[in-house]
Amino acid sequence: MAVDSQLETQLRETQPEPGPSALGTERQAASRRRQAMFLSIVGAVGLLAAWTIASIATETEFQLLPPPWEVADRMWGFIVGDPERNVEGGTVFVNFWDTFRKTMYGFIGAVVVGIPIGILMGRYRYAKNYFFDFTYLAANVPLIVYSILAVVLFGLGDAGPAVVVGLLVLPDVALNVAAGVEGVDRRLLSMSRVYGQPSGPALRHIVWPTFLPFLFSASRASFAASWKLATLAETFGGTTGVGVQIRKAFQGFSVADMLAWMMFFVIFVVLVERVILIRLERYAFRYRLQRDEDVLRF
């Protein structure tokens, strides 16, 4: 399940090959970029238009599908407060922070446990075989089962979502760390031993740089999935956070609130992906970027 953000990367980087007519000049390329931009706006506007039409066509007193502007109004209410509906200002930030906090606990736990396991897996064949089924299982268990586990084991509260996020992220971290360890240049390590370098700097200059990018790609790959799992677990048995707000919207039968939270969700995921994670990754990969290696695309 942790492939969502990898898919996003692929989606952004996939370009259909230029047809025979577009083989070429920069001006043509620029005009194509403009056209592509235009088309993507057309796509977005088309979606909004379809939404509006559907909302008008299905209008009843229950408001099954509120129009976009109504949802935008709700979203604004969740940001600055809406006394009419008893919503305090900044509700969005409080709830997203709560969920984010739990996700981070899970992430940190997964990294702490996953790095040693990954090192073992990269170093010993036995460990690799031993942990193989664990990683397979963790990748194939439906998210709902994780959420059930969270409720059964930890009851209501913060621990459940955090632990299951950790369980979900753990195999990704371990596998990526294992790949990183396998990639460490043994000759460099032997050389540093021959020249009597202490192992501290060797670790810092040889092992760590090989290893860090893999860790980043693990966290990038797991981010979207773990965030989704955290909210689902909250919906099942949380007391605070985005998931709880979504549950409230469902129980109150408020489609507008639900759509508003959905939009926040998209904004948040895209923002974190684009702004934070990509930058971190470029930073981790910077020494390879200097060598003009196309590493961001694996």
Partner: protein, 303 residues
């Protein structure tokens, strides 16, 4: 073997001793090789998983032990779905999982019907890609269970809700896979087949299908995994029957044996399906390639 014949022919005591030690050493080596073999490692892992579960079950007052869960599943097989007589067909496990599988299949029908043409178009025509990229991106960022709740509110507690949920939330991932797959079609061959005016069906059969098979199967596999989970979520939150609803009813009854029992059934079905069906189809689809490593070959996890 040679040490054995040494023992038989040599009357001298010390050599016999030496041979014996050699033999034990060889046996130890073999034992070590067996214990450290891949198969042994994997079975040790499975065993330790059950042990961990047992341990957690003993420590936690809510989590049932493996034996409890197993007993529950057997009981559930003996509980009739309708009427009073339980048969191999008319029992809670088979009937409810059948309903869930049916809903997943219906949803997957739409996912494939929309995802493959759209992904193919996006991989082939840059205009299609420019139009739909952002929409697909939003679809990927959305969690499926929000769709589940929304569709329950929209379509009521009927079969439409899970099917719609699966269709909208599993399609984007398949689209991306298929889009990547179309890029794997060798461009020279595509141009050549255009130049020689190979009919569409023939081109599809001999060029498009074999090159895209790997990506499409990977995408469908992922979509099925996501769809299965989402049908369960929809059932949990609003349907009157199905595996997800069963877990919900045991949860509401605060019966954790039942909850874990159904969770186990859910996991087992998807894993059996993945191992038994998808993996076989994948192998078949890759047969023509033999042992060539290339595009689309499975790279587990470390992608």
């Amino acid at each position: 073997m040679s040490s054995g014949s040494d023992v038989a022919t040599a009357p001298r005591e010390p050599l016999g001793d030496k041979a014996a030690t050699q033999r034990t050493a060889a046996a130890m080596e073999r034992l070590k090789a067996i214990v450290l073999s891949e198969r042994a490692a994997r079975w040790t892992a499975r065993l330790s998983l059950i042990l961990i579960w047992q341990l957690v079950g003993e420590l936690s007052d809510r989590m049932p032990t493996p034996v409890d869960t197993f007993n529950f599943i057997i009981d559930e097989f003996q509980r009739p779905f309708e009427g009073t007589e339980a048969t191999w067909w008319n029992n809670q496990v088979v009937q409810n999982t059948y309903l869930t599988v049916e809903r997943t299949v219906l949803g997957m029908f739409w996912v494939i019907a929309i995802g493959i043409p759209l992904g193919y178009a996006m991989g082939t025509y840059w205009r299609a890609q420019a139009t739909f990229t952002d929409i697909i991106m939003v679809g990927l960022a959305l969690p499926g269970y929000i769709w589940a709740l929304l569709s329950l509110m929209w379509f009521g507690f009927s079969v439409t809700a899970p099917v719609f949920t699966v269709a909208v939330s599993a399609t984007p991932a398949l689209v991306v896979f298929v889009m990547r797959g179309t890029l794997a079609i060798p461009r020279e061959l595509r141009d050549m087949s255009h130049a020689y005016e190979v009919p569409f069906l023939e081109r599809f059969r001999h060029l498009v299908l074999p090159s895209m098979a790997g990506a499409v199967i990977a995408g469908v596999r992922l979509a099925i995994l996501a769809g299965w989970g989402l049908v369960l979520v929809t059932e949990w939150f609003g349907l009157p029957d199905g595996a997800g609803q069963q877990s919900r009813s045991w949860y509401d009854a605060a019966n954790f044996d039942g909850l874990m029992g159904w969770a186990l059934i859910i996991i087992l079905i998807i894993i059996v399906f993945d191992r038994g069906v998808i993996e076989r189809i994948d192998k078949r689809a890759h047969k023509w390639r033999g042992n060539i490593e290339g595009f689309g070959t499975k790279r587990e996890g470390t992608g």
